[in-house]
Structure formats: C-alpha cells, structure tokens
C-alpha cells in the first residue's frame, strides 16, 4: 500500500480548531489581553483600593470612606483645588496663545522652511528631560540670580525681588513654556484639516473675517481645541518637576502630595487622592469623546488622516 500524496492530510493542530481569522487578529488579542489586564485594569482598580482600609502594605477588604475623610482632613482638598486652579488657568492661557499661532501655522504660513523649523521646534521638547527644561530658571530668578542682579544693578529695586521663584507666579511661568507644544499640535492638526474652499466660500458670500472665524473655523477646530485642552491640562495636573523646581515648598501640588503620602507609607490615602484625579480624568475623557463625536470619534480622526 502506497501513501497517496493527494489524500494526505496534516494532523489536526490547534490552528485547525480556531476560527479562521487573519494572523494579526490573534496577536492583537494576545497583546490586548496583556495590556488591558496588566495596565488598564490595575489603573482602574485604584478606585476600588481607595475604599479599603489597612496599614502599610497590609490591606483588609472591607469598604470604607475613611481614606477620603483622612485625605480631606489633611488639607488635601485645598491642595487639589490649588492644583486644578493653577493647571486650569495655565491651560486657558495656553489656549489663547496657541490658537492664533496654530491658525497662522496651518493656514497663514506659506514659507516651508519656516514651517519645518517651527514643527521641529515644537517636537524637540517632547524628548527633553523635564528637569533640564526648568532647572535653569532657579539661577535666573533666584535671590542672587540674573534678573535680580540686573534689577539691583540698574537701581529699579532696592532689595531682591523674592516672588520671582518659589511662588505661584514662578509655577505659572514654568508651565507656560513647558506645555505649549501639547496645545499647538492638536489645534494645528484640526485647523489644517479644514478645507480652504470653506474659508473662501465664506469670504465670497460676504462674511467678515471675525464671522468666518466664529462660524466656520471654531466649530470645525473644536475637536482639536478639546484634545489640546485634555493633553495639556492632564499632564500639567500631575507634573512632578515644574511645581517642585519653581514652586518649592510654597506651592505644593498634586505630585508632591502623592510623593509625601507614599514616602510615609500612607498608601491608601494616596490611593484616594489618585482616585479623585482618575475621576477628573474620566470626566475629561467623556468630554473628549463628545467633542470628537461629530467627526466620527477617535477612529474618525485617523480615518481623516488617510485622505
């Protein structure tokens, strides 16, 4: 008896029992399982952890509001309000500064070299050490720093100006430079996706520039504005470097509070604080979702890139 090559069948392997899907879908599922199980779930679990009680590394699984009470009795509410206020103020200032710039960059700037240089200038800061970007301000704004020496030397002031560093002014100032690109990029992308024909049509129909801005550009750029708001506000809220370098101990923000809580092994109160921030963040994510809905959600943004 000879083996007939035409009727030979491979022994059934695992592959034959699985539904026939492109290979990529299987590896994507595997990776997603790791990502959602190892990263997303733990991050959301912090909300559950914040309702538990315990001491140090031992925790009991019985629900309580104790951590939140302790957090607010330690002056956590005040600190949280300060963090949100500072981050919110700077984000709005960034928006006012970035919108005209992004508009000009997307529609006004015709010089390609200038454009390319500006893009590079807006990209490079993402990859720089956060401390390297702000550390110098201390020498410039300090009591014996450059600004004070100039002010004293020229006789404008008689004694060193102290509010230049380790103050709320310094924190605001430090944030403005550091978080500018995250506001410009999304607005630039959304404005540059607006069809030029719309703007010309609006002008030809007799609309003033202000009217075109308010009725054509603003609504179409809204997803970018909201995305810019989220990508600027959220990292700023949790920034560990600017607040500690520019604010010192006078302007304690979120990051410093979390660190000091972890430092004294007060893990569960830190969890409560983190849970409050997560709740704020989730609210923003819902806001972003609604803002992107008219353009088909996050996936729609990428679909529009395909054009």
């Amino acid at each position: 008896m000879t083996t007939n090559v035409y009727t030979y069948r491979k022994p059934a392997g695992l592959r034959d029992y699985l539904p026939r899907l492109p290979a990529g879908v299987w590896s994507l599922s595997g990776f997603s399982l790791l990502w959602f199980g190892g990263i997303v779930l733990p991050l959301l679990a912090i909300i559950v952890v914040s309702f538990l009680q315990g001491r140090g590394l031992n925790i009991n699984f019985d629900p309580t509001f104790l951590q939140y009470e302790r957090f607010f009795s330690y002056g956590g509410g005040e600190m949280l309000a300060r963090s949100v206020r500072i981050a919110g103020t700077v984000t709005i200032v960034e928006l006012l500064l970035a919108f005209p710039f992004a508009l000009w960059l997307a529609k006004g700037c015709k010089n390609n070299t200038v454009k390319l240089l500006t893009f590079t200038a807006l990209t490079v800061p993402f990859f720089l050490s956060p401390a390297a970007r702000v550390i110098v301000w201390r020498s410039v704004f300090g009591i014996n720093g450059a600004v004070n020496q100039v002010l004293l030397g020229t006789g404008i002031v008689d004694e060193p100006v102290l509010w230049l560093i380790f103050s709320e002014f310094a924190v605001h100032f430090g944030f403005i430079g550091a978080f500018f690109p995250t506001m410009v990029w999304p607005i630039f992308l959304s404005v540059s996706l607006i069809d030029n024909d719309f703007l010309e049509a609006s002008g030809d129909l007799g609309a003033s520039r202000l009217r075109t801005l308010l009725h054509i550009i603003l609504p179409l750029a809204l997803p970018g504005i909201v995305a810019g708001f989220v990508f600027t506000f959220i990292p700023m809220l949790g920034d560990a470097v600017v607040a500690s370098h520019m604010g010192g101990n006078n302007v304690l923000m979120l990051a410093a509070q979390v660190q000091s809580l972890i430092g004294v092994s007060n893990f569960l109160v830190a969890a409560a604080l983190a849970a409050v921030v997560l709740a704020i963040m989730l609210a923003f994510q819902v806001l972003l979702w609604f803002a992107l809905k008219p353009v088909g959600g996050l996936a729609g943004v990428f679909a529009s890139l395909r054009r």
């Binding site: 000009w104 720093g145 403005i176 949790g238």
Partner: protein, 296 residues
C-alpha cells in the same frame, strides 16, 4: 467680484484699514514665537551656564569645562574607592537608563508591529484605541502610583528592573502607536492580497511588502520608545527598586544640594544635546524618506 478685483480694491484702502487684515497674523506670530522663546531660553541658558565659571548666578561667562571634568572624574574616583569633592555619581544611573531605553525601544517596535497594521482594519477599534491611548490621559504620577498600588499592594510583587520596564513601556507605547497609526492608516491592504495571489508566503509578505511600507512608523516607534523612556520621570518615581534612573537621580540631586547644581547642568546639557540629535535623526528617518515610498 473676481479675486483680482478684490485684491485691487484692498490696495486702494488707506493703510490703517488694511492693518486689520494682517493684525491677526501678527498676533499669532508674536504669541507663538514668544512662547517658543520662553520654552527654549532655559535650554540655551543651560548649555551656556554649564560652561560658565559660576553657574549659580545665572549669568554666563568665565568659560570653563571644569564641570564636565568633574562629572566624569567624580564617578571614576568613587568607583576606585577614592574620596572626591562631590558625591555625584552618574555612571550607574546612566547605564540603567540606556539599558531601559533600549529595552523599551525594542518592546515598542514589537508591540506597534502587532497592533499598528491590524487596528485600522478591525471594526471595533474605538475601545481598543481608548484603552491603548489611556496613559496619555492620566497624569504620569497617578499612573505610576496606580501601577505601584496594584503590583505592590494588591498582588504583592516586588518592584525591580521589570517594573521600570513596564512603567517606561506604558508611557512610551501610546506615542509610538500614534506615530505608527499615521503610517498604517494609509496602508493599502490590497497590496498584501495581491502578494498572496502571486504566491508570496506569509513571511515574504511581511518582509517584502509590510515592513518597507511601515518603515517610517517602525523607526518612529523605536526612537519614541528610546527617547521617552530615557527622559521618563513620574512613573519611575514609584516603579523603581533601589536603583535610580538618570532623570530620577538628577531630579533628586537638584533638590538636595547646591554644590552639585553645576554638575547637573553639565550632565543635563550632555543629555539634551544627545536627545536633540536623536530627535533630528528620528524626524529625518521617519518622515524624510518620502521619495522612496511605495505610492498607492
């Protein structure tokens, strides 16, 4: 009214009325470049001050390279067990950071190759995208604490190098994925089908069709992984065990003593110059090769 007429009519206006035409442009330019100045001023100052005799005054001058010598010799001297002026030791954190950056970079490339080409083609990509990009929407410090809580408190795993790798990957992956998606959403899947019809094996389709087209995205993912990991701070604060990464070490040192500040300036300058160089390389590799692209 034709465009020519409109342009002509505008030139006939007195100049104070034409002013309103370019005033918004002027505001945009002034605002934008002023903030970019505020952004780059400290970086340029950092470089100048790192070569200055007395950096703490904030006024450059009295040029010297003594701080750079100190950075290197302080580490070597202490490695040999000798006493040295400052206890600034940058060698181990630097090695750890470079190692982590390499691992993160490789992981990012692998993950992005798994996710990037498939995601634009599946129907329910919304929830996946939200999940993958979630770290972008959480303050780093909260993300770090969250992961720390889960692994240390809830499932009782000790922190180590692995946790730093996880932390850096979580931080860098969303950026790498975004870069890849920009390339992958333009990928024409009919090319793969055509290759299959012409008898190309799966690995041939991968190496000869998919890889060359996705190359800019792969480069970008690799560089993003490296640079973002190398400069990462907030996650590392909580996900480390014993050993400090370089940004962490510099950050702790800068808070501690004034004597080490000039050395921190020197070290930060080295890192900054390196990062800027790598960024330029990345931009060139990822987006400069437009001529060789396979056109759809």
């Amino acid at each position: 009214m034709t465009i020519e007429n409109k342009t002509l009519a505008r030139f006939r206006l007195p100049f104070w009325q034409r002013l309103t035409d370019w005033a918004p442009t002027g505001i945009g330019i002034i605002f934008g470049y002023s903030v970019l100045f505020i952004l780059y001023f400290p970086i340029v100052m950092l470089m100048l001050l790192s070569f200055s005799g007395d950096p703490l005054t904030g006024i450059p001058g009295d040029w010297t390279i003594t701080w750079y010598e100190d950075v290197i010799f302080a580490d070597i001297a202490q490695r040999d067990g000798e006493a040295y002026g400052s206890n600034f030791r940058v060698g181990d954190p630097l090695l750890l950071s470079i190692m982590l950056a390499f691992i993160t970079s490789i992981l990012c490339v692998i993950a992005v190759l798994i996710v990037g080409p498939v995601l634009p083609r599946i129907k329910w990509r919304g929830p996946f995208l939200v999940g993958f990009l979630m770290p972008l929407m959480i303050p780093g410090i909260v993300g770090g604490v969250g992961l720390f809580m889960w692994y240390r408190l809830v499932i009782h795993v000790k922190m180590g190098i692995w946790s730093l790798v996880v932390a850096h990957f979580v931080w860098a992956f969303p950026f790498a994925l975004l870069a890849m998606l920009v390339v992958a959403s333009r990928f024409d899947t009919r090319l793969m089908e055509a290759a299959e019809d012409l008898g190309a094996k799966p690995w041939q389709r991968f190496w000869q069709i998919e890889m060359p087209i996705l190359k800019p995205g792969i480069y970008a993912a690799g560089f993003f992984g490296f640079l973002l990991s190398f400069n990462e701070l907030p996650f590392s604060i909580f996900m480390r065990a014993g050993q400090d990464t370089l940004p962490l070490y510099l950050w702790i040192q800068s808070g501690a003593h004034n004597t080490t500040v000039p050395l921190i300036y020197a070290m930060s300058t080295i890192i900054t110059v390196g990062s800027i160089g790598l960024t330029f390389l990345a931009i060139k590799l990822a987006f400069g090769g437009g001529q060789n692209d396979v056109r759809q």
